[in-house]
């Protein structure tokens, strides 16, 4: 059983809708959901002004339509499920600590900021700052999983402290910048300056990477932990071939500007 909300009126300006989260609608009647408040630019509006609501409040929420201008979907979520059949706007799953968000299309910038648990899956592309800290904050996501099947832009997982981020396509510059710990897997190649300022943690790339002058080659290895991660990702719908699963990776350590305790693993050969 789920609650369905279909976007029937295109917003003139962006909408902020942290009410589109299972905990906020759970137990509400259909009209209760319609009366939930969102921000449309600087105006307060009702969910019913823009969405056709079907069903009463369940712990599973289905959103239909192009929600690329609807921000904060699933923000602060602790449990339950949100499915977006279409695209989602900025701050998807901001601060979530549990539950699952699935987006069939693309997501915008700031996917899962301040996340501490749960899972966000995006079948299409996502923007900048996926799984990143907000400006000024020294620590990014504290846990959970962000799985992007398409491409992402810059600053993937900046300052992340714990958790897993996987990207099926390409990532932009500064992957895992200022990372404290955690794991980032990028399958389709990444931009420059990966791992700048990283303290600990692992960044894994299936494609060759241009590294900063403060990273040094240490050894090659066939990391066992990676098998577990990749098996898990395979079960989540990523196509992982056997070469990557059992292959040999070159390990670079850095960032020497920090304590040199982080690593970038670059796939070498099978």
């Amino acid at each position: 059983m789920h609650t369905e909300l279909e976007l029937t009126t295109a917003p003139e300006v962006p909408i902020e809708a942290e009410c589109l989260s299972p905990a906020k609608i759970k137990g509400l009647s259909q009209s209760g959901i319609e009366h939930l408040v969102m921000m449309h630019g600087n105006r307060k509006v009702r969910v019913g002004d823009f969405f056709r609501v079907t069903g009463n409040g369940q712990s599973s929420l289905r959103l239909e339509g192009d929600l690329s201008r609807v921000k904060y979907i699933g923000a602060g979520m602790k449990e339950g499920e949100v499915r977006v059949n279409g695209s989602a706007g900025m701050h998807l799953g901001a601060g979530m600590s549990g539950g699952v968000i699935r987006v069939s299309g693309d997501a915008s910038d700031w996917v899962g900021p301040e996340m501490s648990g749960g899972r966000i899956e995006v079948m299409g592309d996502a923007g900048h700052m996926v799984g990143s800290a907000y400006r000024g904050q020294r620590v990014g996501i504290m846990g959970g999983e962000i799985l992007i099947h398409g491409n992402v832009k810059n600053e993937l997982g900046s300052a992340m402290r714990r958790g897993l981020i996987a990207v099926g396509g390409q990532a932009g510059d500064f992957v895992g910048v200022n990372m404290r710990a955690g794991t980032i897997v990028v399958m389709g190649g990444m931009g420059i300056r990966a791992g700048a300022g990283m303290v600990r943690g692992s960044i894994i790339s299936f494609e060759p990477v241009e590294l900063l002058p403060t990273f040094t080659y240490s050894c090659w290895l066939r990391p066992t932990f990676l098998r577990f991660y990749l098996c898990h990702l395979g079960q989540s719908g990523f196509e992982i071939d056997d070469d990557h699963m059992g292959g040999r990776y070159r390990r670079y350590c850095g960032d020497s500007v920090e304590e040199n305790r982080g690593e970038i693993l670059v796939f070498d050969s099978r």
Partner: protein, 113 residues
């Protein structure tokens, strides 16, 4: 080729006269390259040039060549203005700042003015 828009004294002084005046418009639609680059592209001062990238395209005039040591090969300088805007991508990578000083463009010579 890498296009680097920047400030120049001339752009600055012509700004004071007014942006809708001819001088500012001329200054901001004139590019500079070094001698070798110009030679390679078969350009001479005064030629019309089309710059294009994914965002847009624009016609400008080729200015006097700069010495090779002043400007690296493959680099084009242009004072900020409407021409550089036409080529500027709007993605700011979560910073508010478009990439306005390091733009990859194609250069096409349109012949003498």
């Amino acid at each position: 080729m890498i296009l680097i828009p920047g400030r120049s004294s001339k752009q600055g002084t012509s700004l004071n006269a007014g942006k809708l005046k001819e001088e500012y418009q001329t200054v901001t639609s004139t590019i500079e390259m070094n001698e070798s680059t110009m030679r390679k592209l078969g350009l001479s001062a005064g030629d019309r040039v089309r710059l294009s990238c994914a965002t847009g395209k624009v016609e400008v005039e080729c200015g006097k060549p700069r010495k090779d040591e002043d400007l690296p090969d493959g680099m084009i300088f242009i004072p900020y203005g409407p021409s550089s805007s036409e080529l500027m991508e709007s993605d700011t990578a979560g910073s508010g700042m478009p990439m306005s000083k390091q733009m990859v463009v194609d250069v096409e010579c349109l012949g003498a003015n």
